[in-house]
Symmetry: D2
Subunit: 345 residues, 4 copies
């Protein structure tokens, strides 16, 4: 089969690989139908993710059709259409029993990281019963590929951790795909306002279409003052960090109201300054989270009800033979205006 | 009347002052019976608290007897014995309605800070109906002085924010009075273990008596490794910061388990490093809080039930004429072994 | 001034009364601009509300303009436009401090019940600072009259108590004004489905317009079976009782899924049968609640954001001189199709 | 092997049966070391549990040693000492993923009900990885047999559902084994008071030893008045029903304070009257629950910390050959004063 392989920092290639085989009773082999590319794949390609060794097939998102299942798999059979979750969960360990699948002792984020991933014709998925989700009749395989990672990540790490509530004020710093996923899912809780902050007017225009009630271009260095002014000096109830650098985190800590939450989604590469000398008496919370995908069943239900259209996030489509072009478009998002790119098999 | 007055950085004096008068319909004048000294008073004396101007009568804790009340005061009358809360709460503003009395728009921590405080024979207490608490019959005025600040602070900022739960593991970094207050009140939730960390063996010995299940002297720089070893490499569910310096905050962030909470109590004077490059995927929360004293009625009930003995925290007693000696003992806690010092009128 | 007065079971009259005067420092006198009629007013007129004595001016809803304030009122001054909350809250008692204003020891539902109410040119409102809400600039006095009672009641007793969540399933039994208010506010949490149950097709048609995803006419006695079928035999996550009779409560208990909630809003006049022999192992909750109006500030924010249009609930308008006609229309809702009727001064 | 078999209403016998065999990849066979008898076993023997057919080996509690495991079992191997949970949980279904193991679609309470149980030398346990719990080194097999059912039931259905909080007031109606288990575990949350209600002074004396702060013998029909008097007319924050008959449930509904919870543990055989005409405006919750045993890991941790001594519940010990005597003692608890009886193999 064909697969997109990480060849070491800065290098990737489409290679021919053997079709994966069942390795444990709980495994399934899934024939991929649609996959997509995540910012984390770019982190790996920069050499920033130590756990991912050269030779690894990349990818942790997508939808497909079950090809075969191990003897312990009860919920799926060959032919079933499925969403592949970016997080594998055994359902048994202490973390899984608490709903913290991200820290599953034999799972978590392993696909396209410590085991081969979904940017290939077939993928082996461990703990299939608790890591795949059935696609309902009529479900769209492109739309549901957004359930592998980006929608639950925006929702769990941003919206749930950020305790977004009806009538509240929200700011989302970073209008890339993950910030936009937070924006889409934040509206499930009907906040009174959602301010979107970014450096690019193009992304802010997209954010407006996606439901932002206001946008702030932070190029002029005055975003903090602008947002404080918008909120009568109080700050926002929820500040969602969706970039992953010190400047944006620190902006979130400056715009959060007393009693509010800074919900970090960004993947950070270095430490940030936390100004406890100003924050110690502000009654705030700061949260971090690797997505658990525990909200996937709920989001499936939401998508079924039509309250969110995940296809808003999809801007480009490629066949697998052109996956290198898909990467190029995704990397050069400023020019291509790419959000999520679908790669079809 | 006599009062302990802040005279500018490094200086304080007992002075003769006029007895305070009612200034608003919600005020009460309280004749103090017992007061005590807080670490925050020492911060003021170092010149670290910009809001507190020279000439201010210090003190925000204590018990007393109502001397007179304004026309809008309904819950108290002259002669009533009361606890004076360190936080004044109007009961009406948006923050008070949310239970966040610390950020009351006309209250919060004002006593001994922006208005005259409790280290004097009389004190004027604004918003008396919602800032004083009745002492039940038989209530001990020394024990209940611990309800003005230290017990609710340890409980709300450390235990409640830290989400201490039955069976969980807790570490408290800092075994001074506030860390010990967190230790006493953490036991209300029956954690399986409470590890106390400090640099002084004397304080750790006190912590053992107060209910710590283990202690770690961090002088050797190996406290993080020791605590991780104690918890099978996992870390603790709740790490309570009770010092207020970067080293102890950063220790808390290193020992917290996935899914856990770092609950900050310490008053910080400078920024700390937050290692989001290690924490972004750990599913943790970090909380800050100025005490709201919203737990005071509950703690009064707990004290009535005998489940906590707040007098464990009281090590020294002075009459008001010797309040400078009380300060000396409190400042030199290493030598005097002072925790809380009672000053009686 | 003119006022609508309860004259004993079955009797009411418009009478001339003295304009009320301030009676306590926390009082305000409000000149009414709009008022409305509640199902509870009809209960009083039936003689079902023992606390309400003949001679009482009815009404606990409406918007107006502050005419005068007592010496302890800080938040309002004459000329301010305000929403009068159906629940008076002192902000000080143990219940108010817990956010349970409905059980305020000197307040709760007193207007138009134990003290004179809002169906008059002027009304005296105790605890004004914490029982009136400011109308923002541009705020519509008719729309905001829906904030006195019906919207917070539907939201707090039905939606919040019912723990409505994104993606969940909801059934609301009773499509009268209060059931429709629950329907409008339930959508703030984006449930996947909301089934509305009633005996009248007309009301169900209104419910469809208000956002119900399905409707069930229960005339045929098969509503339980129909709803179970709709939910794959599982039942609904939230069943909201919005009628107040045994049959509808018992229906809710039959359609609630394991792990779900029956949230009672209805005012009941007799006991109901609770089939614990079927429910003891179903892991359900049943909740009751007199509205606290603690959600009023949030709902004000929501209305400002345009996410809910409360005027959908208003079907009829009368001037005060025709308030008896307004009552007639409201009583005969089957024929008049009245939901909420506005009475203007 | 020998087994205690249900022979139809009123009949039971010790019989020789074949040792069970593994039937599914997730099964384990456990050699029982200690078992015990539950009130539910008596319900079955009365013919009240329709799901349990004659011929069934009874019992759903106990500790043992793993004898063999299926191919999908990862967490246990032969020789491991284990607690057998009364609830079997697959870890995969929608209910298990929500922590509601009691409603597991292929598990729940099946042992000694729909499949053979633990009152036998060997038992087959489905979903072993998520239905057995490892006994820590040094763990006492008698003490830990209390973790199969009675302690999690008292804790989850009574204490957690009842939202017992520090400083709060609790009443437990019924001082049998399950009420006493609620009493023991309620203390993990440090309520200020726990009143125990029963008809027998002997049981109330036991309750006093177990930590009740007050006891009420309800024989005189004045228990409601007595408890209201104890609580200043307010009622209790949490009323736990631990009997399972209308009179005790209705008592709980009469003594619960505004804002409080009635947490039902009892197994009911008929409907109860719910006085919504008095309760609709009291802001209370009523909860039901079949134990999920989701708290078992936490309770294991608590038992390890020594905060609860489960052996307080054990009054009698028998060898398996005398299990009919064990039943006799358990049935005639009034005379034998039996709480839990241990049957050893």
């Amino acid at each position: 089969m064909k697969a997109l392989v990480y060849k070491g920092p800065g290098q990737k290639a489409v290679e021919e690989r053997a079709k994966p085989a069942l390795a444990a009773p709980g495994d399934a082999i899934v024939r991929m139908v649609k996959t997509t590319i995540c910012g984390t794949d770019l982190h790996i390609l920069k050499g920033d993710v130590a756990t991912c060794a050269p030779g690894r097939i990349l990818g942790h998102e997508g939808t497909g059709i079950v090809d075969s299942v191990g003897t312990a798999v009860a919920a799926f059979k060959p032919g079933d259409r499925v969403v592949v979750s970016c997080v594998s969960s055994c359902g048994k360990c202490v973390y899984c029993r608490r709903g913290m699948f991200s820290h599953c002792t034999t799972g978590g984020w392993i696909l396209g990281n410590t085991i081969d991933g979904t940017q290939a014709e077939y993928v082996r998925t461990p703990h299939a019963d608790t890591s795949l989700y059935p696609i309902p009749e009529g479900g769209d395989e492109e739309a549901l590929a957004m359930l592998s990672d980006i929608l639950p990540t925006g929702f769990e790490c941003g919206v749930l951790n950020g305790k977004v509530q009806p009538g509240a004020s929200v700011a989302i710093v970073g209008a890339g795909p993950i910030g936009l996923a937070a924006l889409l899912t934040a509206q499930l809780y009907s906040p009174a306002s959602i301010v979107m902050v970014d450096l690019e007017d193009n992304r802010l225009a997209v954010a407006k279409r996606f439901g932002a009630t206001a946008t702030v271009n932070s190029t002029d260095g005055k975003a903090v003052a602008t947002i404080l002014k918008m909120t009568g000096g109080r700050g926002v109830d929820t500040a969602i960090e969706a970039v992953g650098i010190p400047a944006t985190f620190e902006m979130c800590a400056e715009i959060v109201a007393p009693g509010g939450v800074v919900a970090n989604i960004g993947v950070h590469g270095k430490q940030v300054a936390l100004h406890l000398e100003r924050l110690w008496d502000r009654n705030i919370s700061i949260t971090t989270r690797l997505v658990d995908t525990s909200s996937t069943p709920m989001l499936l239900s939401i998508l079924g009800s039509g309250r969110i259209d995940p296809k808003l996030l999809i801007t480009h489509r490629f066949v697998f033979d052109r996956i290198l072009d898909a990467y190029a478009a995704f990397v050069d998002a400023a020019k291509s205006k790419a959000l999520k790119v679908i790669v079809a098999f």
